[in-house]
C-alpha cells in the first residue's frame, strides 16, 4: 500500500510546493494538452527537459516519480507493442500477417513512450506537491464561476473539505472494525475471491452505521455553531497568488512558443 504513489502528498517547502494550487492544477492540465502537440524528437526533448526541470524544482527524490510511473508500466509497454507492430511506414524490417515492424512504428512507439512518461511525471508532480486540502480549495475556487448558473459551490466545497477531513477518522474505524471482526473469527485476505468479497460485508455495514452517527452528530455541532445553508458566509482560508505563480505562467507560455517553433 505504502509504495503506491498515485495521489500521495509529500510535504515540503520547495517553490513548487508553495505555488498557488489553482495555478498548478490549470498549468498541469495545460501541459498535458501541450504534450500532444509535440511531433518530433526536438519537441520531445524540449518537453523532457522542461519536465526534468520542474521535477528538480520540487527537491523531492527522483525515486518518488519512478514509483509514480511504476504502476503504469504495463500499460505503457502494451501501448508500445501496439504502436510498434501496427504502425506502417518508412522502411519495413519484418512482416507477418497484420504485424509489421517498420521504422515509422519504432519512432512512433518512442514518441508515445516519452509522451506517457512526461504526462505521468507532471501529474505525479501535482499530487506530490499539493496537499488534498489545497486541491479541494483550488477546485472550489475554480468552480466559483459556476455560481452564476446557481451551482451551490460553497456547499460543494464544504462537503469536499469535510469528506477529506473524515478520511483518516473512517480509516481508523475500519481498522478497529476489522480487528473486532477478526476477534469474532472473520478471516480476511484468504480463501477464494468470493469468500474475500463476503468478508468485506461485516466491515462495510458497521462502517456505514458509524458514518451515519458521525453525520448526525456533526449536523448538531455545525448547527450549534451557526451554520446555515441559506445564508452567506465569510471565508477564512484564502489562496494567494504570488509572483512565482505569474512567473510559472510565463514559463509555460515560453514553452508553448518554443514547441511551436521546433515541432515539425
Amino acid at each position: 500500500m505504502n509504495k503506491l504513489m498515485i495521489g500521495r502528498y509529500l510535504p515540503g517547502h520547495s517553490v513548487v510546493h508553495q505555488m498557488d494550487p489553482r495555478g498548478k492544477m490549470v498549468l498541469t492540465f495545460y501541459f498535458i494538452c501541450i504534450v500532444f502537440m509535440a511531433n518530433n524528437i526536438w519537441s520531445y526533448l524540449v518537453l523532457g527537459l522542461f519536465t526534468l526541470g520542474a521535477v528538480l524544482l520540487t527537491r523531492l527524490k527522483l525515486i518518488y516519480f519512478w514509483r509514480g510511473i511504476q504502476p503504469a508500466i504495463i500499460l505503457i509497454l502494451f501501448t508500445l507493442l501496439i504502436q510498434v507492430f501496427f504502425t506502417r511506414g518508412g522502411q519495413i524490417y519484418w512482416q507477418w500477417g497484420p504485424f509489421a515492424l517498420s521504422s515509422a512504428g519504432v519512432v512512433n512507439a518512442w514518441f508515445i513512450f516519452f509522451r506517457l512518461v512526461i504526462i505521468i511525471c507532471m501529474s505525479t508532480l501535482l499530487t506530490l506537491t499539493t496537499s488534498p486540502l489545497d486541491i479541494s480549495s483550488a477546485l472550489s475556487s475554480l468552480m466559483t464561476p459556476l455560481k452564476w448558473i446557481r451551482v451551490p459551490v460553497d456547499i460543494i466545497a464544504l462537503m469536499l473539505s469535510i469528506a477529506l477531513r473524515f478520511v483518516p477518522t473512517l480509516m481508523d474505524e475500519t481498522v478497529r472494525i476489522m480487528n473486532a471482526q477478526r476477534a469474532r473469527g472473520v478471516d480476511f485476505g484468504s480463501g477464494s475471491l468470493l469468500q474475500q468479497i463476503k468478508a468485506i460485508v461485516p466491515i462495510l455495514i458497521p462502517l456505514f452505521v458509524s458514518a451515519m452517527h458521525h453525520a448526525e452528530d456533526l449536523d448538531d455541532a455545525m448547527t450549534a455553531r451557526g451554520y446555515r445553508t441559506d445564508a452567506p458566509r465569510t471565508t477564512y482560508r484564502i489562496i494567494q497568488w504570488h509572483r512565482r505563480d505569474t512567473l510559472s505562467i510565463i514559463a509555460f507560455a515560453a514553452l508553448t512558443v518554443v514547441i511551436f517553433f521546433v515541432r515539425a
Partner: protein, 282 residues
C-alpha cells in the same frame, strides 16, 4: 450577584421524541444564575443532553418557555441564541468541521459573517486562550481527544458567548485530557466571566460546581448546591451519577462471594493489578 436576573430560565419545558411514548423532558422548570458553574447530572437517557439541545434549538420543545441570555427561544431568535450559547459535545471527532485547527476555530466566525481580518485575530486569541497556538496548522488526525475538545472550546470562545455548555464533553477523554479540558474551562470562566453548564457523570466535577441539578426520567429531581445535594443521601447520587465501573465490579464480585479486594477506590488499571494478585492466590 443575587440581584442579577438568571441567565437561563426554563418554564415547564416538555420535549417528546417522535418514536417514544414517554417524553424525554417532562415539564421541567429551572433557572441558572449568571456567571455560575452548574453541573447537570443524571443517568444515561435521563434527558440531560436533550435539555442542552432544547436550549440551543437543536430539538424542538413541545411545550413550555425558555429564555437564554435574555432572548426567548423562538425560531426568530435561535441564530442569535446560538452565538451566545456555545455547546461542546461529547465526541471530539464529530464536532471538528475544519480541515485544520485554525480552520475549525474559524468555522463559527465564517457562519457569523465576521470579516476576514477580524477573524484572523479572533482565531489567534481563541487558540491562545486554550493553549493550542502551536497546533494551528495541524490536521485533526494528529490531535488527541483532549486537544480536539480544546479546539472545540476555542471555536466557541471565538464567538464570545455568554454561556458555554459542556455536553459530557470530557466523557470520552483519558484522565489527563479530562483534567486539561476542565482546567481550561475553569480558567476561562474566571477570566471571561462565563456561565458554565456542564452535563457530566464525573462526581468530582459535580462536587466542585456552584449548583447541581439532578434529572431522572425527564424530570427535575433535585437542585441545589453540592453539599445540599450530597446531604440528601446516596439514593440521589445513585440516581444521577452511576457508580464508577470498578466500584460496580467490586460489589458484584462481593455478591458472588469473591472478596479480598482493597476497600479504597481503584482506577481500572489498579483494579486489573489487584485482580491478578487475587487470582494468583486463589
Amino acid at each position: 450577584m443575587a440581584e442579577e436576573p438568571p441567565i437561563i430560565s426554563i418554564d415547564h419545558l416538555t420535549v417528546r421524541y417522535a418514536e417514544q411514548e414517554q417524553p424525554a423532558l417532562d415539564s421541567i422548570s429551572l433557572t441558572i444564575p449568571a456567571h455560575s458553574w452548574t453541573a447537570i447530572i443524571g443517568h444515561n437517557g435521563s434527558g440531560k443532553s436533550t435539555l442542552i439541545k432544547a436550549m440551543d434549538g437543536l430539538v424542538t420543545a413541545d411545550g413550555g418557555q425558555m429564555t437564554v441570555a435574555g432572548l426567548a427561544v423562538t425560531e426568530q431568535n435561535i441564530w442569535q441564541i446560538r452565538q451566545r450559547l456555545g455547546v461542546v459535545f461529547q465526541n471530539p471527532e464529530n464536532q471538528f468541521v475544519g480541515a485544520t485547527v485554525a480552520d475549525d476555530v474559524a468555522f463559527g466566525l465564517e457562519n457569523a459573517r465576521v470579516p476576514r481580518p477580524e477573524m484572523l485575530t479572533r482565531v489567534d486569541n481563541a487558540l491562545a486562550q486554550v493553549g493550542m497556538t502551536d497546533f494551528a496548522d495541524r490536521e485533526p488526525a494528529h490531535l488527541s481527544g483532549g486537544q480536539k475538545q480544546r479546539v472545540a472550546i476555542a471555536g466557541i470562545l471565538a464567538l464570545a458567548p455568554a454561556i458555554i455548555a459542556l455536553d459530557e464533553a470530557t466523557s470520552m477523554l483519558d484522565p489527563q485530557g479530562r483534567a486539561s479540558v476542565l482546567q481550561t474551562m475553569r480558567d476561562l470562566k474566571a477570566k471571561e466571566n462565563l456561565t458554565i453548564l456542564s452535563v457530566t457523570h464525573d462526581l468530582e466535577e459535580a462536587a466542585a460546581a456552584d449548583h447541581v441539578i439532578v434529572i431522572d426520567n425527564g424530570r427535575l429531581v433535585a437542585s441545589g448546591t453540592p453539599p445540599e445535594i450530597f446531604a440528601e443521601g446516596p439514593a440521589l447520587i445513585d440516581m444521577g451519577l452511576s457508580v464508577p465501573f470498578t466500584e460496580q465490579l467490586k460489589s458484584d464480585l462481593a455478591a458472588g462471594g469473591i472478596t479480598g479486594l482493597p476497600a479504597d477506590y481503584l482506577n481500572e488499571e489498579e483494579m486489573a493489578d489487584q485482580l491478578w494478585k487475587l487470582y494468583s492466590t486463589m
